[in-house]
Symmetry: C2
Subunit: 274 residues, 2 copies
């Protein structure tokens, strides 16, 4: 999906919600265990219930890989089930040397038709650029993540006290691609930084995890991160997919996605973006 289509989708739906599909066999409703592929049944029900309220889906690969072959199968069925109506993010946080990065790009862009993949910056340009060579596909680069461990390295000051590591990552990497094929992961738990990063890269989309279970505020993220093309995809995973844990789990997920989406619509209207 290219940038123009993504922006159209967001504006026409009045939502910049991304639903994180992180299914866990220990957490999904018990009655689903009767199905041959409980994970796919769970995802399909969540997708049906949330489809009209969100613009993107983000399966986190770890949850599928931890189930081995069956998990991989569930993931493939899930991505096919989503189809082309939504922007899809393989939350894989990959990053490896050139010839290996190309293989990962093939895995997610060719075999599974994801629109984008999350990539870790530690190994530098040749670990990221191979992902940028696919038309209408995106790199979502980790910049400032939502977890406590982000303090360990990302917020450390670099050479001469001029900038922090995450700033260096953004400043360096924004020349590798363009706002048409790169986004940045900026955690919602650090709203004080979103404004400053928006000033650094005014046009890039940000994928913002950390609203919901991790405690970030949607209003703060929007206030600091919106640009004239909206420029945000805000992700919620656990707070949506586990909103209910009984046979009405999908309805509960749908309600929660609808609630967030309504809040987003109001924000976009107030800002005159829709």
């Amino acid at each position: 999906m290219n940038r123009e289509k993504l922006i159209d989708l967001i504006k026409s739906r009045g939502s910049f919600l991304c639903v994180g599909l992180d299914p866990d066999l220990d957490k999904i409703p018990l009655h689903l265990h009767e199905y041959e592929d409980p994970i796919f049944e769970f995802n399909a029900a969540i997708i049906d219930a949330t489809r009209d309220h969100c613009v993107a889906y983000k399966p986190n690969l770890a949850f599928y890989e931890s189930m081995g072959l069956f998990g991989w199968q569930s993931l493939q069925k899930t991505i096919e089930y989503i189809g082309e109506s939504h922007f899809t993010i393989a939350d894989a946080k990959r990053g490896d040397i050139g010839n290996t990065a190309t293989k990962y790009a093939e895995a997610f862009f060719k075999n599974m038709a994801f629109d984008s993949v999350t990539v870790a910056p530690y190994m530098g340009s040749d670990s990221v650029k191979p992902f940028l060579e696919f038309e209408d596909k995106w790199v979502v680069l980790l910049a400032l993540t939502s977890n406590p461990g982000a303090d360990d390295f990302q917020l450390e000051i670099m050479d001469g006290g001029v900038e922090k590591l995450y700033q260096k990552v953004i400043r360096t990497s924004c020349t590798w691609g363009s706002p048409n094929n790169m986004m940045y992961v900026i955690g919602a738990t650090r709203p004080e930084y979103i404004k400053e990063i928006r000033a650094m890269v005014p046009e890039h989309f940000f994928l913002v995890p950390g609203v919901g279970a991790q405690g970030g505020s949607l209003a703060d993220v929007a206030e600091n991160g919106l640009n004239s093309d909206v420029g945000l995809l805000v992700n919620a995973s656990r707070s949506i997919i586990y909103a209910g844990r009984d046979e009405y789990f999908a309805e509960a997920a749908g309600s929660e996605a609808k609630r967030i989406s309504a809040e987003m619509k109001l924000i976009l209207q107030k800002k005159g973006l829709i």
Copy 2:
């Protein structure tokens, strides 16, 4: 595999060679395409031919994931085929927030019985520690990688010019685990740094890629990186597995592994380590 067993294995075999299993359908000999699972046939032949000359195998996950479900199946069969006689490294370069890191750890340590997994440090302590909670399992943390992109961030100077990012990563992370459950990835293409890193963490094992196709020198790596427990696993992938491209590919791989292993034995003997 615990540290003691790993050291015993290395010393008894007189080798610290790790064979990288990065199979590519476009590069494996044509006649293997007749088999139902060409990738597994290729790996099994390579393993049979190199088993006596190496102490570890390192499948790079990208090469399997790029083939989807079939690749995942080939990987599972490969890891079972290796068995417990060798140290196994899932070269996955994962790194994600706590609950997700636990899922990745389950994927590699429980479902597939790998001894270790490569992990990226960018997201900090809570992205690494969940992997350290499995007995006799190891984190192999990216520190200074062998690719050109390592210059972009890893070699950048941090706060006040005191240390570079890779040094900060090593100094910080070496307290998260111990030399019994953490190793570091240090590229062979940067021998000038290996000596200095050995001084920083005298006991930790280093996994050293970049010998072979990437041009690093075994003698330089050994000179700078060996410690009294050997402390090195030197990986070669393409230079071994593609040493031959015809029906005698396994013999060629075996010869190349034997050649490197013999060089290692000589080095270990000269240093009085065996």
